[in-house]
Symmetry: C2
Subunit: 149 residues, 2 copies
């Protein structure tokens, strides 16, 4: 019985340690990468989530808030304030869709579209900071995309 108890306790220790490593690795990596982006994005006046929103808009500009939320996997409770800040910076415009007044259409302003030129150096700069071989990058990305669909 003493052996049984030991084994159970050992399993608990192992399970919790494993869990710590798994989830913590993801949590820590995300925090570290955000910190890595900060100095690069400061120059553009963007936060990391704002940069992500701009990346999505640079690919296709007039988008509804809902479509942005789908692309970024974010709720309107997160997006609405973020978009208001981008609007206050003059990078985007927000307007109700005349066809369907429930929707809000987000459009890049000329300033917002122009920011793309200054942003194009960011990916390479970040890659340098990451010190991750390009070969591993694609593989890691695919694994993460599949994680917790």
């Amino acid at each position: 019985m003493s052996q049984n108890t030991d084994s159970t306790q050992h399993d608990t220790v192992e399970a919790l340690r494993l869990d710590r490593q798994l989830c913590f690795a993801l949590y820590g990596a995300a925090n570290r990468v955000t910190r890595l982006y900060r100095p690069l994005l400061d120059a553009l006046g963007l936060t990391y989530p704002q940069y992500l929103a701009m990346l999505v808009l640079w690919e296709a500009s007039p988008r509804t808030v809902g479509a942005l939320g789908e692309a970024l996997d974010l709720e309107s409770s997160t997006l609405t304030p973020l978009l208001k800040r981008l609007e206050a910076q003059g990078l985007i415009a927000r307007a109700r869709d005349p066809q369907d007044e429930r929707r809000v259409i987000v459009t890049l302003t000329p300033t917002g579209a122009a920011l793309r030129d200054r942003a194009k150096a960011v990916p390479e700069q970040l890659l340098c900071l990451l010190e991750l071989p390009l070969s591993e990058l694609g593989d890691l990305r695919e694994r993460l995309k599949r994680l917790a669909v």
Copy 2:
């Protein structure tokens, strides 16, 4: 020249798209995993970062705030309020180190230590939700740990 311009523009598009995929995959995966933990941790009355702090404390209980911050890679500006909430729940105690009044020592209360029993089911539950083969898990963890040291 037109070809040169096209090629440059194409590179920019590609770089920004790649960047979006790389950083976004990490960002999205971290958000999704946090959302996945939420219902499991609600039962324990913990948030995900609070759970991480408890995992660290369950491994070694009297720890300074600084040591916790090192283990979790978090600043005191994040940890102090989080620890105050754990203290308010009766899971930990915070006290100045008599040997060095600058330090604050964090100790598990009996309640906090006992919570470990109820938490031991969490890793397995999460693994089920993740639907990630165990074989991939360790590999992913190692890659993430190396990411952006």
